[in-house]
C-alpha cells in the first residue's frame, strides 16, 4: 500500500524524524507550552516556528500542536496541507479525520501517526506517536490541558482511530 504522503522511504523517514523532533521539543519545554483554544492555538504554523531552530509554539491545543509538528515534518517536501486540507490555515480533529489513511493495528503505527480519541466523525482529542515501548505499544505526545504536553501510552484513555499522513 502506498504511503499517505506519497514520499519515498528516505524522505518519509526524514519526515518522521522531523515530526518526532518537533513533538518532543514542546514536551521538553512543557512549562512554556500553554493550552488554549483561542486563535493562538495555531501560532506554531502561523509564525512558521521551526523545531530545527529550537522554536516551538507557546500556545496550542491538541490539534494545533499536532498540526504544527506535522507541518514542520512535511515542510521540506512542499506537499501542501495533507493533514487538515485547509492550506495550513486551520484545522481540528474533524478535519484530521477526513485526511490521511487509517492504521488499523496499533503495533503497525509509525512515528507521526495521530491517535484520535472520542466519538467520530469529529472526535475530541488527538495525540501523536513518537516511539514504541519494548512490547511494541505506541507512545504518544499529548497536549490536552495546561499541564501538558505529556508523554503517554497511546491507550491512556479509550482511543477511537489512528491515522497516517506521512
Amino acid at each position: 500500500m502506498s504511503r499517505a504522503s506519497g514520499l519515498d522511504p528516505v524522505h518519509s523517514s526524514i519526515a518522521r524524524q522531523r515530526f518526532t523532533q518537533a513533538a518532543l521539543l514542546g514536551l521538553h519545554h512543557a512549562a512554556e507550552v500553554h493550552y488554549t483554544q483561542d486563535s493562538r492555538r495555531w501560532e506554531g504554523i502561523a509564525q512558521k516556528l521551526l523545531a530545527s531552530k529550537g522554536e516551538f509554539p507557546k500556545h496550542a491545543d491538541c490539534s494545533g500542536y499536532m498540526s504544527w509538528a506535522l507541518w514542520f515534518a512535511l515542510l521540506p517536501f512542499k506537499l501542501g496541507d495533507i493533514v487538515n486540507g485547509q492550506h495550513w490555515q486551520g484545522g481540528y480533529t474533524g478535519t484530521m479525520a477526513q485526511h490521511g489513511i487509517e492504521v488499523l493495528h496499533p503495533p503497525n503505527t509509525r512515528r507521526g501517526d495521530l491517535v484520535l480519541y472520542g466519538s467520530g466523525p469529529t472526535f475530541e482529542h488527538v495525540a501523536g506517536v513518537v516511539t514504541h515501548d519494548k512490547s511494541g505499544k505506541p507512545l504518544v505526545v499529548s497536549h490536552g490541558s495546561e499541564a501538558g504536553p505529556f508523554f503517554l501510552p497511546f491507550d491512556y484513555r479509550p482511543w477511537a482511530q489512528i491515522r497516517r499522513y506521512i
Binding site: 500500500m1 518532543l24 483561542d38 503497525n108 490541558s145 501538558g148 497516517r164
Partner: protein
C-alpha cells in the same frame, strides 16, 4: 511466531528505530494527569 493482523496496514511490518535513550523522556503516569479539555474546532 506471533499472529499477523488479518488486514494489512500501510508499511506493515516496518518498524521505526527506537528513540535514543537520552532523548526518551520518562512516561507520565496517566492517573496523574488532568482530563483532556477537548479540541477547539476550526479557527
Amino acid at each position: 511466531m506471533t499472529d499477523q493482523p488479518s488486514t494489512p496496514d500501510p508499511d506493515d511490518n516496518v518498524v521505526d528505530p527506537p528513540l535514543p535513550e537520552e532523548e526518551t523522556p520518562p512516561l507520565t503516569d496517566p492517573s496523574t494527569i488532568p482530563p483532556d479539555e477537548g479540541d477547539a474546532g476550526n479557527v
